[in-house]
Symmetry: C2
Subunit: 420 residues, 2 copies
């Protein structure tokens, strides 16, 4: 199984014209790589018979299996099924079960049936149908010289489910894989790629069957541990060992696992402890509360937020004395502390979080250049404030400041070390 090469062909004029950004192929590449397979090449071609045939031929020449997505809809420009059949010299047949289910679906949704939809029940001779649990277009699998060629729709939500639930199990079965694959994602913030890289090359992480990948997405990094092997118990144990070793060393920088988000983790910590929060934002402009309110049920802990862009609003809404702003500046430790304390007092909440900074591009001085940001957190135990100096553009300064503020709150709530 290892060393198996898989080719990915994505089909659609919207891709070769740049109208749509293809995300299916990188999702598929990630999932196939996680299985221990290698992606030989990814190709995108338009809805064009000869381009599709050319792509299939080329990829089959360098691959042990293919994943093809797109062009399975009911309209005239969806020609993938016919093109694949044509490329392999196969006729088309109607799958009666699929046709019946399609018609039932139309009745169920109260949509009038039109004959062009019957096209979605056509498959190349010898193809095995791959169910679509999320839409009308079924996929199919053909075998060419012992190599499976799987074809699924291009709608991302459908393609993703069918890849995970249909294609990968099918590849594993056809290829006689008895391998188990387990995965664990560790979410990391405030370590650089090179610091992580250094951690990952440590000898005690070199366990056979375990690979570790890392996927930076500003401002955080995902570490993905994949454990593979035929012995299910061993696969699970290996995963746990590596996860534990990484966790032990990087615990200060790990904010969550798998589908966790920073705002979701903070929301859970607050909700679980029955604590309430008020937020005063200057440079982050509402981004902190925007993220927190993405979490369903956030009204349980978020009492209020204020975006105090003017000095008057800092005075009115938070009770920051005008004299402090005049003496130390709106962007200062003194102001940040009073903002956090003020919003906590006025909201009557357990915690108060505040940001003030210079997001640029203008407004910097020598003492406080663009990217200077103060983050303060007030609670019953007192108030802490940290000063940061970021580079990057306005948006990234906002994103990093919001992330740092949420992380400060997370650390305080989980009793962790409050990094500077």
């Amino acid at each position: 199984m290892n060393g198996m090469n898989i080719g990915i062909l994505v089909i659609g004029n919207e891709l070769t014209s740049g109208m749509t950004q293809d995300t299916n192929s990188s999702f598929a590449a990630r999932e196939l790589t996680a299985q221990g397979w290698r992606v030989s090449a990814v190709m995108a071609v338009g809805d064009d018979i000869s381009a599709i045939k050319g792509g299939l031929d080329y990829l089959l020449g360098i691959s042990d299996a293919l994943v093809v997505t797109g062009g399975l809809g009911p309209t005239a420009d969806d020609i993938t099924t016919a093109s694949v059949a044509g490329a392999f010299g196969l006729g088309l047949y109607t799958d009666d079960t699929v046709l019946r289910r399609l018609k039932e679906r139309f009745v169920g949704f109260n949509i009038p049936w039109t004959e062009n939809n019957a096209k979605q029940a056509l498959f190349p001779g010898g193809a095995v149908v791959i169910d679509n649990p999320a839409g009308t277009a079924c996929g199919f699998c053909l075998e060419r010289g012992g190599r499976p060629v799987t074809v699924i729709p291009g709608v991302p939500a459908e393609a993703r489910r069918m890849l995970l639930e249909g294609v990968i199990p099918l590849f594993r079965e056809r290829l006689g894989s008895r391998e188990q694959v387990l995965r664990r994602t560790i979410k990391i913030f405030r370590l650089t790629e090179s610091q992580i890289d250094q951690e990952l090359t440590r000898e005690d992480l070199a366990i056979p069957g375990v690979t570790i990948g890392f996927y930076p997405r500003f401002p955080q990094i995902r570490l993905v541990i994949t454990s593979r092997g035929e012995d299910a118990a061993r696969v699970e144990e290996n995963l746990k060992i590596v996860e534990q070793r990484i966790t032990d060393r990087l615990v200060d920088y790990i904010f969550g696992y798998d589908d966790d988000t920073m705002e979701g983790v903070v929301a859970s910590l607050l909700t679980d402890r029955g604590l309430t929060l008020a937020v005063a934002e200057s440079c982050t402009g509402g981004l902190i509360t925007d993220r927190l309110t993405d979490v369903p049920g956030s009204s349980a802990f978020l009492e209020r937020g204020v975006v105090v862009y003017s000095n008057a609003s800092k005075v009115d809404l938070l009770g920051v004395p005008a004299s402090v702003i005049e003496e130390h500046g709106a962007v200062s430790e003194e102001t940040a502390v009073l903002m956090a304390e003020g919003v906590r007092r006025l909201g009557g909440t357990d915690m108060g979080l505040a940001t003030t900074g210079i997001a640029g591009p203008a407004g910097g001085t020598e003492a406080k250049p663009v990217g200077t940001v103060f983050v303060a957190l007030s609670s019953g135990g007192g108030t802490v404030c940290r000063r940061y100096q970021f580079r990057w553009d306005r948006r990234r300064i906002k994103e990093m400041s919001a992330q740092i503020a949420l992380d400060m709150l997370r650390r305080a709530l989980s009793g962790g070390d409050m990094l500077t």
Copy 2:
């Protein structure tokens, strides 16, 4: 020139492993398509000599020109230059001018020079250097059987500039194009794709040399008009005619052109008129002020924002009577109107904007299901409020609500029709 086929090859293990989402190829596809050319295929391969050679051979077989990106860095896994040279049986030479500039750059940035960097001054025999105005890795162009093969770095900011400033002009010159290409983007909100599609098929838009593409990105749509031809005056005139005809018919739905954003347009309208704004957000949770504060200089008009998630904060911060909330609900026209009026009064601003709604997944009722949103705008002329019913998930309800609110403000400021 028309009918010219261009192949795109993107190189990097981070692409075939799915670690990084490739965006260069869709950018290139869009720009090449805008020139009136066709993308024959896009291929992604890893940093592997035989995969690169295979990709080059295949794409050259179906294309009149190639764009290759990625793998031009100084590290050992950057093997694109050597692979391209190898594929075409060419030796490598050092370009002394490039080498000197590289060394100067290192001195300028005060970084010690290491010999591996000299690799970035190596080019295949016969190659013409393509300048990199944004980084250290120069690109190059080779000719194979009259077909230009251009190679540029994979760093998106560098790839984009070099494509526009180096590759496309070079293709045009090599291929003897005397065509002029002009483009205009129209930004549209509150029309569906099928409504736009219907507009675009109108006979009076069918002008030779003019094409219109549309690129939906929730919650808005970009319309791109491209005008091409050898007569510069005619090209410009055609573009203007089509732009004018579309503008005349869709004026109510057009919020900007080219690089305009909704928040940027609103910011300009407020700043130009010297008007100030305060925002009270419930269901949008800070997203409106987050977007407005992405615009540099937003402190000129944004006095304050409040995220009034609790009923107490609606009473405290906005003066909404508790009895109104009790009688009509926090999500009601009555509350929305008082929120907009309250935040305007308390901020002492010209305009007050407010949102309240049920973003879900819980909290809906039969009378006010999930997706019910009220948006209110208060100004010297009075207060307007609109009720909307959205479907979609929590995040998209927030995004659509914020966009609708900003659009309501834009319409009010530009004297346009206030759509329901």
